[in-house]
């Protein structure tokens, strides 16, 4: 019996990507919970930075819905400008970034701006925010998003946040610094990237999900790692901590309410 949600599993998988010496560009939603979970478990020394101008070394004292919430400033170590935070990123001081996306392609490029492309907009999404910068400049990058066929495309129609472009050494060719995405955590499994082709490869499958289900929900012929694992489920401690930081289940239980 599964006593956790797929969002909780995604948080746990995200937190496992965080090392104790990481400087993490946190973002919001599931990545924020992943950071807080990591802080309370295996990465107590990790540092979290937020683009509105915040650096923290302890989780906030209350549930967060945005990075600008008052509890995220209370107890911070540094509150400053976006310029200072983004400078840390561009200067190579950020070891790990998290981003989400509406569409991703097999080379890890994300579209969060124009579904259909800029000249032929079908859906106007919010845009980059800091996502494109994080994808371009952080040393390691983890993508977190839902696994659906309409979101996992052979080729995105617009690149908001660059992954590996059209593969191979594209990043070097266009002049990007960061190493590009190292993992895509979805609600069905975890995908990583081939060292040479830079194409996405299925690496692990969440408990209760089949490889077939994942293939059906991917818009191209997804390659499989030679030894696909089952994703390790959350422990009781991990779930307790996640629920402490998301007490109303807003992010991880799909309960869109504050009451």
């Amino acid at each position: 019996m599964m006593d956790y949600t797929m969002q909780e599993l995604m948080v746990v998988a995200g937190s496992r990507e965080i090392r104790d010496d990481d400087v993490v560009f946190v973002g919001m939603r599931l990545p924020l919970l992943a950071f807080q979970l990591a802080k309370d478990t295996h990465a107590p020394h990790a540092i979290g930075i937020f683009e509105n101008g915040i650096l923290r070394d302890v989780p906030a004292g209350d549930a967060l819905y945005t990075m600008g919430d008052t509890p995220n400033i209370e107890g911070a170590i540094w509150t400053t400008s976006m310029m200072d935070i983004m400078s840390l990123l561009q200067n190579g001081r950020v070891s790990l970034g998290f981003i989400g996306g509406a569409e991703v392609d097999r080379f890890g490029n994300l579209n969060t701006t124009y579904i259909g492309g800029r000249e032929n907009v079908r859906v106007r999404l919010p845009g980059s925010g800091g996502g494109s910068d994080i994808a371009s400049l952080s040393k390691r990058l983890v993508i977190i998003m839902n696994h659906e066929k309409r979101r996992f495309l052979r080729r995105v129609s617009y690149i908001t946040s660059p992954g590996f472009g059209n593969g191979g050494n594209w990043r070097q060719r266009v002049g990007l610094r960061g190493r590009g995405p190292c993992a895509v955590i979805t609600n069905k499994g975890i995908l990583r990237f081939d060292l040479h082709t830079k194409e996405m490869v299925l690496d692990s499958v969440h408990p209760g999900v089949t490889v077939e289900e994942i293939l059906e929900n991917t818009g191209w012929h997804l390659r499989l790692a030679s030894n696909i694992q089952e994703t390790k489920p959350p422990t009781k401690t991990e779930l307790r901590i996640i629920r402490k930081y998301d007490p109303r289940g807003f992010w991880t239980q799909g309960k869109r309410t504050f009451r």
Binding site: M28, F50, E51, N52, G53, I54, G61, Y65, T66, M67, G68, D69, T70, I73, E74, G75, T79, T80, S81, M82, M83, M86, L89, Q90, N111, T113, Y114, G117, R118, E119, V121, R122, V123, R124, L125, P126, G127, S128, G129, G130, G131, S132, D133, S136, L137, Y158, I159, T160, S161, P162, G165, W170, V174, G175, L176, R177, F250, R256, T257, F258
Partner: protein, 305 residues
């Protein structure tokens, strides 16, 4: 000394003109100048260019009210809920009017405003390369670095006609204190032609002089100081009130279609004549629940000699 204290009505009427470019929401999800935005809507300002890093609901409201010609931003939507439906309707089907979008990232809009503040015609960056934001009508160029030979994207300056600076406190001359994450607030103010400061409290000049490192904008750049308590609601102002999350959720649901948005607008903007009436509509029970309960006071430092 020039008189700089204005009511919200006067300040918007006098310092924001049709066609102006206006930087707002410079501290991202906190201290969003909703009271300014609603007064802009009530006064029917037109053809504005909105400039901001991310925009949590406010840009969407101004777009849906037909005030906006162009959006220059890194993100436009509703942070906890996702898309902004007015932004979608304007870009996708031209309702209530077609708008242009110039798409930045948070780093590059910082750099653009900073270039504006520094008085230089561009700043190079290692972001943007390889993305859809290069090319087309976008303002960025590409060049080879004359030192390192690496590829660079160039970001030209943004110099808003008006910067709206929403803060905790200022004195009568516009010397302005802010605390919390400041986003691009200082950069926008230093880059802008006119500055409107909206404060929770007007304080004596002594309060500023006793902590000049807390100053984010010096008064000589400020045109108007508008005392407007709760002017940022439902966004938070550190030390004054917390975020009213529910309002973002209900707005998301209510603005899903055009009729729903117009109803929201009628109730929350046109249905009130100013911020005081708006706050009555919010209700005292709600505002009370948002007040600071867990205080954390800074420890004084000595500026003496």
């Amino acid at each position: 000394m020039e008189q700089k204290i204005y009511s919200m009505k006067e300040a918007v009427s006098q310092f924001i003109e049709d066609g102006d470019s206006v930087a707002m929401g410079t501290a991202l999800e906190a201290a969003i100048p909703f009271a300014v935005g609603h007064e802009i809507i009530r006064q029917g300002k037109r053809d504005l260019t909105l400039i901001g890093p991310i925009s949590d609901m406010l840009f969407d409201q101004l777009i849906g009210s037909g005030c906006v010609k162009k959006v220059v931003a890194a993100w436009v939507g509703n942070v906890i809920m996702g898309v902004g439906y007015n932004m979608r309707r304007a870009v996708e089907v031209g309702v209530p009017r077609k708008i242009e979008a110039e798409d930045y990232t948070n780093l590059t809009i910082s750099l653009a405003l900073y270039a504006g503040a520094m008085g230089i015609p561009f700043v190079p960056t290692k972001s943007l390369l390889g993305t859809g934001m290069m090319g087309g009508k976008q303002p960025f160029k590409e060049m080879e670095c004359p030192y390192t030979k690496e590829r660079l994207a160039l970001v030209p300056p943004l110099k808003p006609d008006v910067a709206i600076v929403q803060v905790q406190r200022a004195d009568e001359e516009g010397n302005t204190h802010f605390w919390g994450g400041s986003g691009v607030t200082k950069e926008a103010a230093l880059a802008a032609r006119k500055v409107i400061v909206v404060v929770e409290e007007v304080v004596e000049k002594k309060v500023i002089r006793n902590d000049p490192n807390r100053t984010i904008v010096p008064g000589f750049l400020v045109n108007a100081v508008v005392p407007e308590p709760w002017g940022a609601h439902p966004s938070p102002v550190q030390g004054y009130y917390n975020r009213d999350h529910e309002k973002y959720m209900s707005y998301h649901n209510e603005s899903r279609d055009r009729d729903g948005y117009l109803k929201w607008l009628e109730k929350w903007v046109f249905g009130v004549k100013d911020r005081k009436e708006y706050l009555k509509l919010v209700g005292e029970e709600k505002t009370k629940s948002l007040l600071v309960k867990r205080h954390r006071k800074s420890i004084p430092v000595d500026f003496g000699f």
